[in-house]
C-alpha cells in the first residue's frame, strides 16, 4: 500500500496561523490511528486567506481543506479526510479552486506544488533546465531572450532587465557580481518571501543565469532580517544546490563558476534602495549613493553588478527555457509578462495573485479579493507600498500597467495592494507616510531627512485645523521640494501618498475655520 501524501505548508503566513501545530497534530493522529501517511511540508499556493491549507493526495488528485486548526485534526480523520472525505473545511481539488485557476502562474508555478527543498522535485518540474539551456545557447543568447521577454525590474523601478544585464556583460572587470535584492520592505508585499520559501532553487537558478549571462562568478542575496524562516529555507537550499553541483566551481561540467552567499539586513527600509543595499552589503551604513555611476558599471565593491529583485530573477528561468516571446504574450503595451500581485490589508481573500499586466485594481480586489474583510465599503487602496499613492474608489478601474499608473501620479511598485475600508482616517495615513520617511530616511540628503519631520508637523497643524490654507500650500510646496531634490525614491516618492490624500480625501482633515 502506498503512503498517503498529506501537504501542510511550511511558509511564514501559514505557520503564523498555526500550520506547524496542524502538521504536528496530523502526525500524532496518524500514529495513534496506525495510518500510513507521508507528511510533506510544501510552500504556499498563495491563497493566504485559506491558511493553514492542508491537501491530501487521493487518486493523483490533491484535495484541499482550508483554515484547518490543530483542534480540527481528530475530526478530519474521523471524517475520512485521508480518502478525501466530506468535511466543513473541504474545498475540493486544489486545481479547481477559482482563486488559483484564474491566475497566470509563470514565476510561481511551482509554489505550493512542490516540496521546496527537494532538488529531485525541482528537477522533475523542469528545474535547472534553463541553466542547461543557457550553457548550450551561450551568454548573449540568454541576454537576448531576457530582452525579448520585455521583463522589467519587479522590485518597483521597472527598469528593463535585459538592458541592465547587457550593460554588465559589456563592462570589462576582473570581478563582477549578482546582487539579489530580497529586502522586501514595502508593507503589503510578500511575493519575494513566498517565492524564496516555496521555490528557492528557482531564485538560485535565476541568479546563476544572471551570472552566466554577464560574467559574474559571485552572487549575494540581501535578505531582510524580518524573514527568519526564509533565511533557514534559503540557507538549506544553497547548501543542497552546492552539494548537487548546481552551485560552486565548474557547474555540471560547464566550466562556469558561480556561488551564492546570504547577507542579512538589519531592519532598515531604505536598504531596499539598490545603492543603499550595496553599501549595506559592504558592511556599512545604508546610505544611498549618487547615480551615476550606475551599479551595472560600478556597483558592489566598485565592480559591475547586476542588482535585481527576487521575482525578477526568478522569472528568468522560464524565459530562457520557454523563450522570451511566450512571456511577452502576457501583459499589455510596455508592461510585458506577469506580476505577482499581493492582496493585503482589509481584504476578504488576501494572498498572492500572479496575473498578466492590464488587470484592473477593482478586478483584483473584488473578483479575487472578494471585497473587504470587514464587509464595509472600500475607501482607499494603496498600491506599491509606503511610497505609493492612495487610490480613491474612482481610480479603481485603472489597469495595472506601469505607464497607466504613472499617468495618475501613482506607481505599481512591487505589486502590493493594501485595501482600507471606510473607517480609515486618511489624514492619519498621510501623517504616517511622512513619519515613516522620518524614521527610515538614511539621512544623506536634506529634503528627505528634514522634510519628512517638517511634513509630520505641518500635517499635525492641518489636522488641528490651524491656518488651513497656508499649511496646505506649505505642505504642497514641501512635497514638490522632496520629490524634486531627494537623492532616491524614499524622499522622492513619500509625497505620492501624501498628495493623493490631500487631493482625494481632503474631508478627513479637520473642517475649515482654523
Amino acid at each position: 500500500m502506498t503512503r498517503t501524501k498529506v501537504y501542510v505548508p511550511r511558509e511564514t503566513s501559514a505557520v503564523s496561523v498555526g500550520a506547524d501545530d496542524v502538521a504536528i497534530a496530523i502526525a500524532r493522529q496518524s500514529k495513534q490511528r496506525g495510518t500510513d501517511i507521508q507528511l510533506v511540508r510544501n510552500g504556499s499556493w498563495g491563497a493566504s486567506w485559506l491558511e493553514p491549507l492542508v491537501e491530501v493526495e487521493v487518486d493523483n488528485k490533491r484535495i484541499a481543506y482550508g483554515n484547518v486548526a490543530a483542534a480540527d485534526v481528530g475530526n478530519l480523520f474521523d471524517a475520512g479526510f485521508l480518502e478525501g472525505g466530506e468535511h466543513a473545511s473541504r474545498l475540493g481539488p486544489i486545481d479547481e479552486i477559482p482563486y488559483l485557476i484564474g491566475q497566470d502562474r509563470w514565476t510561481f508555478f511551482r509554489c505550493g506544488l512542490i516540496e521546496p527543498l527537494s532538488i529531485d522535485g525541482y528537477r522533475a518540474t523542469s528545474g535547472f533546465a534553463a541553466l542547461e539551456r543557457g550553457f548550450e545557447i551561450g551568454a548573449q543568447a540568454v541576454i537576448d531572450a531576457v530582452k525579448e521577454s520585455g521583463l522589467r525590474g519587479r522590485g518597483g523601478a521597472g527598469f528593463p532587465t535585459g538592458i541592465k544585464w547587457q550593460t554588465v556583460a559589456d563592462t570589462d572587470a576582473d570581478q563582477k557580481y549578482v546582487a539579489c535584492n530580497a529586502d522586501e520592505g514595502d508593507s503589503g508585499t510578500f511575493s519575494d518571501r513566498m517565492l524564496m520559501e516555496g521555490d528557492p532553487f528557482c531564485l538560485l537558478e535565476g541568479m546563476a543565469l544572471a551570472g552566466f549571462a554577464t560574467g559574474a562568478s559571485k552572487g549575494y542575496i540581501y535578505l531582510r532580517s524580518e524573514y527568519p524562516l526564509t533565511h533557514r529555507i534559503l540557507t538549506k537550499a544553497i547548501d543542497t544546490a552546492r552539494d548537487a553541483g548546481w552551485l560552486g566551481n565548474d557547474i555540471q561540467g560547464s566550466g562556469f563558476d558561480f556561488d551564492i552567499e546570504i547577507h542579512l539586513g538589519a531592519g532598515s527600509y531604505v536598504c531596499g534602495e539598490e545603492t543603499a543595499m550595496l553599501e549595506s552589503l559592504e558592511g556599512k551604513k545604508g546610505l544611498v549613493r549618487s547615480k551615476p555611476p550606475l551599479p551595472a558599471i560600478s556597483g558592489l565593491f566598485g565592480r559591475p553588478t547586476v542588482v535585481n529583485n527576487v521575482v525578477t530573477l526568478a522569472s528568468v528561468p522560464n524565459v530562457v527555457r520557454l523563450g522570451g516571446e511566450m512571456y511577452a504574450n502576457f501583459g499589455m503595451d510596455r508592461s510585458k509578462g506577469t506580476l505577482a500581485f499581493q492582496l493585503a490589508g482589509n481584504v476578504k481573500r488576501g494572498g498572492l495573485v500572479e496575473k498578466g499586466f492590464g488587470i484592473t485594481v477593482r478586478e483584483l480586489i473584488e473578483d479575487f479579493g472578494g471585497g473587504t474583510a470587514t464587509g464595509r465599503p472600500v475607501k482607499a487602496v494603496q498600491v506599491g507600498g509606503p511610497l505609493g499613492a492612495y487610490l480613491p474608489e474612482t481610480q479603481l478601474d485603472t489597469p495595472l500597467d506601469y505607464e497607466a499608473f504613472a499617468a495618475i501620479g501613482a506607481m505599481i511598485g512591487h505589486g502590493g495592494i493594501v485595501v482600507f475600508d471606510d473607517t480609515a482616517n486618511m489624514a492619519q495615513q498621510a501623517r504616517f507616510s511622512m513619519e515613516f520617511c522620518a524614521i527610515e530616511s538614511c539621512g544623506k540628503c536634506t529634503p528627505c531627512r528634514i522634510g519628512s519631520t517638517r511634513g509630520v508637523e505641518v500635517i499635525d497643524r492641518l489636522i488641528a485645523g490651524e491656518n488651513r490654507e497656508e499649511n496646505y500650500d506649505l505642505l504642497m510646496e514641501l512635497c514638490d521640494t522632496m520629490e524634486g531634490a531627494s537623492l532616491c525614491a524614499m524622499g522622492g516618492m513619500t509625497p505620492y501618498p501624501v498628495r493623493s490624500v490631500l487631493k482625494y480625501f481632503a474631508e478627513d482633515f479637520a473642517p475649515r475655520g482654523g
Binding site: G265, G267, G283, K285, G416
Partner: protein, 160 residues
C-alpha cells in the same frame, strides 16, 4: 533573548568565524547580539580593533540599523507591525491593547518583555502581524495577543 555577560574571547571567535572581514560587520553584529543580547560598548571597541576600522564606523553601523541595540532587552522581544497593511486591520488598536496589557510603551521593557515596533513582517495577507522572538503570528486579535503573552509567562515559569 536575555543579556549575557560580555566575553572578549567569545567575541574574537565570532570575528574569526567571519574571517575578520570588515565587509561582514553587519553579519558579525547579528551574531554578537545573538550571543550577548545586545551590542555592549566593550564589544564595539574590540570590534573596531579586530576589524581594523574606526570606532566611529562601528558606532555608525550599530546606530543606523534598527535591529541593533546597545542596551539589554527583556528575555522576550515582542514586535507589533506598525505598517499600512496591518494598520488597515487594526494594528493601532492592537498596539494600544499591548501597551496596556504589558504596561510599557513601544521600545520599553517590563517583566522581561520588550515591546518594539516593526515595519512589515511580510505577513500582510494575515494582518495584523506580531513577531515574538523569531516566530511570526498572524490575524492577531487582542485575545490572541493575551494568549501568546500568557504562553510566554508559562514558559518563563517552566524555565525557572
Amino acid at each position: 533573548m536575555s543579556s549575557k555577560g560580555f566575553d572578549a574571547a567569545a567575541l574574537s571567535d565570532i570575528v574569526k568565524a567571519h574571517d575578520a572581514l570588515p565587509g561582514r560587520l553587519i553579519q558579525i553584529l547579528h551574531d554578537v547580539q545573538a550571543r550577548f543580547g545586545h551590542v555592549p560598548e566593550d564589544a564595539a571597541r574590540q570590534l573596531a580593533n579586530e576589524l581594523n576600522i574606526s570606532r566611529a564606523d562601528v558606532h555608525g553601523v550599530v546606530s543606523f540599523y534598527h535591529d541593533f541595540r546597545t542596551e539589554p532587552t527583556g528575555k522576550h522581544i515582542v514586535r507589533i507591525c506598525q505598517a499600512e497593511a496591518c494598520q488597515a486591520m487594526g494594528s493601532r488598536a492592537l498596539t494600544e491593547h499591548a501597551r496596556g496589557a504589558l504596561g510599557v510603551d513601544l521600545d520599553g521593557t517590563a517583566d522581561d518583555v520588550t515591546l518594539l515596533p516593526v515595519y512589515c513582517l511580510g505577513n500582510c495577507a494575515c494582518a495584523p502581524a506580531v513577531m515574538i522572538g523569531e516566530r511570526t503570528y498572524g490575524r492577531v486579535t487582542s485575545e490572541r495577543f493575551d494568549e501568546l503573552i500568557g504562553g510566554l509567562e508559562d514558559g518563563l515559569r517552566g524555565d525557572d
